[in-house]
């Protein structure tokens, strides 16, 4: 495959404003709950307020008497739907038995939907939901991860698409025994929730007993379509799922969520359109970033050469699914050592199954690794950047193969220069009663491409239409499709329109995992190229069909996806994006107050199709990294098994005043081994590494290692008080993993 026709692009690489920007800022863009249909009913979910037990009685008489209430659905009267697990599994399901709403009387997690009230208007439905009295037989839920660390288990079946856990290299225990310096540290990260601005919603429009038209908040219209078709017995062609706009999702819209099931169930049962939007509180009742406990041991020689890596993770999952993500293989890609060993285990809690949340796995594992590397660099009396360069891995030690491209060295040098890293002092420095510290960390994320199709259509007046089922989750997919099409076909941007997020369009996977841009633009490029060939070859016949549109389909044709075997992971090169994150923090030790003053992030994500939307992606990711470092934590009361800070007032993430200037630098080396345009993806790389850079900067400022997220006032305060008491800086806690 060549890229000859876009080597001197007019539009690719330019900071083109969002294709759909005007629609979004003027309110023309319609989201799942913005749609209405004649006769539409409104539904409200009744959520369980226990975490484990059984519903023994559902007292609905008072609610049913309310004028305007149409139906109350629950496990007691749930119509016939698919019974087997298979129908409920989707493109990204982990192994296990997926949650099936209204399956029976059992309550398996706090906030589980146990009834659905459908009424003529929303207010009536909401009121009626309050009038339903649920009687439970409550069991003691276990939601406390520390109580079940001892019964963690290796998941018997690996989740599809994961890299998995690297095999052992050398003898890590032996190497650690003699290593000097050596770092052993324990890290903890809390459960955290996606909280897109748009709550999950579905408008299900009943067409006939065999047809349904659904507006869903989803990152994969076809994933939702297949789910509905399988559960309710529709033919796939008779289910339309549209999701042209998504008000943020960050992974929460990868799996079909329960509001989709419930809205379709009600619409089918009542033979009329039904709309359902979850509340902000109900957004705490499904997927989330799993809680982890992590142990790391690193060893080096006196010259600062790393000899061994040990990284062990226990992650929480639900009782009914083995949710897994790649938390542990990252060090294997970054640091050259003779010895390495990794472990990843799960432990079951009475909670809803976790799910992919921005930079799933990598965001968590890299916080621990990059914090520990900072400790090891210090123990080796080396600059953190210099230490990383000295132990730089040219090969992927996990798969034992070279990288397609890896511009991490340039990320270090350009990021350090822009940040002024040379001014960093060991022990930070003072500005009045404020301590200033600088920290840095490496970021890494998998660059992937999944089979995706697109259609290009030319109308007789020269207008071009691009169509694919791929979603734009707010990242700029519309815009890059438009740019690529315009360049391949040699037309201006305003001649190109783009349709996305509709299950009827050319096949595409869910958008997520940073593979969207690479996958969809390769497909658009192929489709446009095919169209161009068609136009050229049919130029002489054009008179005959002057008014008929001409169309061509194309698929992303990644080199290593040509066979089924290839799909399971065979590649000649490892493909990853990289970054270097630099952060400066101010800490007022007296008050345990922290403020991040600035962030510089240098990113190797291959070719940048649109520096404007790309920068927004990185700023968003880095902001979330800051949020992970300092703010986000779902607090669960283990007596009730319920999350207590179930609102955006008390579940904290940064406000604008917390977010500093974030400078983004792109190291642009197209990765054409991955895809023709050389794109590596941007969705996650801004987040990975940012939390560790901030924690490392806090250490530089005040000499306290923060190994438990988020770094709240009390946690920093505790560290500062201990430091004042002992004056021993950075002493690591003894670990079970290291000595095991």
């Amino acid at each position: 495959m060549t890229i000859a026709h876009v080597t001197s692009p007019t539009h690719i690489g330019k900071p083109v404003s969002r294709y759909e920007g005007m629609d979004k800022v003027t309110g023309r863009a319609r989201y799942a709950a913005d749609f209405a249909a004649p006769g539409m009913a409104h539904a409200v979910v009744v959520s369980a307020d226990i975490a484990l037990g059984r519903v023994t009685q559902l007292l609905t008489a008072e609610a049913e008497r309310l004028p305007g209430v149409i139906a109350i659905l629950s496990h007691l009267n749930c119509p016939d739907v698919a019974k087997g697990d298979k129908a409920y599994q989707d493109q990204v399901s982990p192994p296990g038995s997926p949650f099936r709403p209204f399956r029976d009387e059992r309550v398996m997690f706090d906030g589980q939907p146990i009834a659905l009230v459908v009424a003529e208007d929303f207010e009536t439905a909401r009121h009626a939901a309050r009038l339903i009295h649920v009687v439970y037989e409550q069991d003691t839920a276990n939601t406390d991860m520390s109580a079940v660390l001892g019964i963690a288990y290796k998941p018997p079946k690996k989740r599809f698409g994961m890299n998995g856990v690297p095999g052992r290299r050398g003898d890590t225990q032996d190497a650690l025994r003699v290593a000097h310096p050596r770092v052993d540290a324990h890290y903890e990260t809390p459960p955290a929730y996606h909280h897109p601005m748009e709550m999950h919603a579905t408008t299900a429009i009943w067409i006939s007993d065999t047809k349904i038209h659904v507006h869903d908040k989803t990152q994969g219209a076809q994933n939702s379509r297949n789910y509905i078709a399988a559960i309710f017995g529709y033919s796939k062609d008779d289910v339309i799922v549209e999701a042209p706009y998504i008000g943020g999702a960050f992974g929460s819209g990868l799996r079909p969520q329960y509001q989709l099931f419930l809205a379709v169930l009600a619409a089918r049962e009542l033979k009329r359109p039904v709309q359902l939007m979850l509340t902000r509180q109900q957004m705490f009742s499904f997927g989330h970033r799993p809680q982890t406990h992590q142990n790391i041991s690193l060893g080096a020689t006196g010259e600062g050469l790393m000899t061994s890596i040990f990284h062990e993770v226990v992650a929480a999952t639900s009782t009914y699914e083995d949710y897994q993500e790649d938390v542990v293989h990252w060090a294997e890609l970054l640091y050259a050592t003779e010895n390495a060993s990794y472990a990843y285990a799960l432990t079951k809690l009475d909670i809803a199954t976790p799910s992919d949340m921005r930079a799933p796995g990598g965001g968590l594992g890299m916080f621990a690794i990059e914090s520990a590397i900072d400790e090891l660099a210090e123990a080796s009396s080396m600059d953190p950047v210099g230490f990383r360069l000295q132990n730089y891995s040219e090969r992927d030690q996990f798969e034992d193969r070279p990288f397609s491209t890896k511009e991490l060295r340039s990320c270090f040098s350009e990021g350090a220069a822009a940040f002024g890293w040379q001014h960093r002092q060991a022990g930070g420095h003072s500005d009045g009663h404020v301590r200033l510290g600088m920290g840095m960390a490496t970021g890494i994320w998998e660059a992937n491409i999944l089979p995706t199709n697109a259609l290009a259509r030319r109308h007789s007046d020269g207008r071009i239409e691009i169509e694919t089922a791929m979603a734009d989750i707010g990242t700029g997919t519309y815009t890059i499709c438009q740019q690529v099409a315009a360049d391949v076909l040699g037309v201006s941007l305003d001649m190109v329109s783009v349709r996305l997020g509709d299950s009827r369009l050319a096949n595409a996977p869910v958008e997520g995992g940073s593979f969207g841009a690479a996958s969809v633009t390769a497909a658009v490029e192929a489709a446009c190229k095919a169209l161009k060939n068609k136009l050229e070859s049919s130029a002489r016949d054009i008179g005959k069909h002057a008014n008929a549109p001409i169309e061509a389909e194309g698929g992303s044709d990644p080199y290593y996806f040509k066979t089924a075997k290839a799909l399971l992971g065979f590649k000649s090169h490892s493909t990853y994006s990289h970054s270097a994150v630099f952060a400066e923090v101010a800490v007022e030790p007296e008050l345990a107050a922290i403020h991040v003053r600035r962030i510089v992030i240098a990113v190797d994500a291959g070719r940048i199709l649109n520096p404007k939307t790309a920068r927004s992606q990185i700023i968003g990711g880095a902001t979330w990294g800051l949020s992970m470092a300092l703010h986000e934590e779902a607090l669960r009361d283990h007596t009730s098994g319920r999350i207590v800070n179930r609102s955006l007032g008390e579940y904290h993430f940064p406000v604008c005043a917390d977010i500093p200037d974030i400078k983004v630098i792109f190291i642009e080396t197209p990765d054409t081994k991955l895809n023709p345009l050389g794109v590596k993806g941007l969705g996650e790389i801004g987040l990975v590494g940012t939390a560790a850079a901030i924690a490392n900067a806090i250490y530089n400022a005040v000499g306290v290692r923060m190994r438990k997220l988020p770094i709240t006032s009390e946690r920093l305060f505790e560290g500062l008080v201990q430091n004042e008491r002992h004056r021993t800086i950075g002493s690591a806690l003894p670990l079970k993993g290291a000595s095991a």
Binding site: D49, I50, E123, R126, H127, R130, Q281, V434, A586, E588, E590, L591, A592, A593, I594, H595, L630, H631, L635, D637, T639, S640, R642, V644, N645, R646, S647, G649, E650, H652, F653, P654, V655, C656, A657, D658, T712, S713, E714, F717, E718, V721
Partner: protein
């Protein structure tokens, strides 16, 4: 949310009559707290009495130089009122430390006084809460309680009062003017909010048929040497873990009088006259401030998660009084003055 009836009195007499006629009625002005509570089913009023038509929207300087703030004056209007910024800058700083611009544009003076606690368990109708449902018990005492009280709590309730504004009003010895069926009553600020004791469902000493009409502040001796410091989980839109209103009257290098009020630590803004008295006659300085802080916190008791607030309060008091002595509130934009690290 449950259906309710809305009545909109035009006069104070009418409003009080509504209160007398409908025992389950609630007053509503800005609605920034009550509507949330209704959506969460914590409050279930059958009748809302919208008081926004009452003539209580003025800010007046009286003949004796006092400030009279109408009950319906919006937080934003009060914070940026030139007389307030000049004569009672502590009030502006505290107001601007609270909520967000959008909320401050709606929230009223009296509403701020009457806002309910942000205890997680108060908001969760499935959790035990004596404040919401007397006699149920308190889930917070053994639950997540980092945001809860270290002073003045009872075995019935460990909730805190969430207001910033009230911490400043407490420090400045404001007077709450209320109107009831029997006429006007003036309540010293220290007596307006209650400690939980055995009846945590009652936040204030306001009678059920009374309406707050104004808040009054005497001319302040602390316009120069005052500070509002708010420590919180993020730089805006978060309630105080600990906040301090610190005021000093300094003559010839000696403290003549002092006021210290603490927020985020008790069921009401916390003051201790012994602590304030200990500063009189002393030169402003860290040792004197620390000694006063120790007195103020001498009876502080931690719960499972909030022991850090005791030491943090100690340090915050010293910090705020140090800034007050330096008069630093005047050197920064008021929106920023309440934060550390500026």
């Amino acid at each position: 949310m449950r259906p309710f009836e809305l009545v909109r009195p035009d006069t104070m007499v009418q409003a009080i009559e509504y209160l007398q006629a409908y025992p389950a009625a609630k007053l509503i002005a800005g609605g920034t707290n009550l509507l949330d509570l209704m959506k969460e089913d914590v409050e279930q009023p059958h009748i809302l009495i919208d008081v926004t038509r009452l003539p209580l929207t003025s800010i007046v300087i009286t003949d004796d130089g006092s400030l009279r703030i109408g009950a319906l004056v919006k937080n934003t209007d009060l914070a940026y009122n030139p007389d307030v910024m000049e004569g009672w800058p502590l009030i502006s700083a505290a107001l601007l430390a609270g909520a967000s611009p959008q909320l401050r544009n709606m929230a009223t003076t009296a509403g701020n006084l009457l806002q309910r606690t942000r205890c997680y368990y108060f908001y969760d109708t499935a959790a035990a809460c004596n404040k919401r449902s007397p006699g149920q018990g308190c889930a917070a005492i053994k639950g997540h309680n980092r945001i809860h009280a270290i002073l003045g709590s009872s075995d019935q309730c460990v909730a805190t009062h969430p207001s910033d504004f009230c911490v400043a009003l407490a420090a400045l010895d404001a007077v709450v003017v209320v109107q009831g069926p029997l006429g006007e009553r003036r309540i010293a600020f220290a007596d307006f909010h209650r400690l939980p004791g055995d009846s945590p469902e009652r936040d204030t000493t306001l009678d059920r048929h009374e309406i707050v009409t104004a808040v009054e502040l005497a001319p302040s001796a602390y316009a120069v040497h005052c500070d509002y410091l708010k420590l919180r989980d993020r730089r805006s839109y978060a309630f105080a873990l600990v906040s301090v209103a610190g005021c000093l009257e300094i003559r010839d290098g000696v403290i003549v009088s002092a006021r210290i009020a603490l927020g985020g630590v008790a069921h009401k803004p916390w003051r201790d006259y012994r602590a304030e008295q200990s500063l009189v006659g002393k030169a402003p300085g860290k040792d004197a401030f620390a000694a006063a802080a120790s007195i103020l916190l001498s009876e502080a008791k931690p719960l499972r998660d909030n022991a850090f607030k005791i030491e943090l309060s100690q340090r915050a008091i010293v910090h705020a009084l140090t800034r007050a002595a330096a008069g630093s509130l005047h050197k920064l934009p008021l929106e920023l003055g309440n934060r550390p690290l500026q």
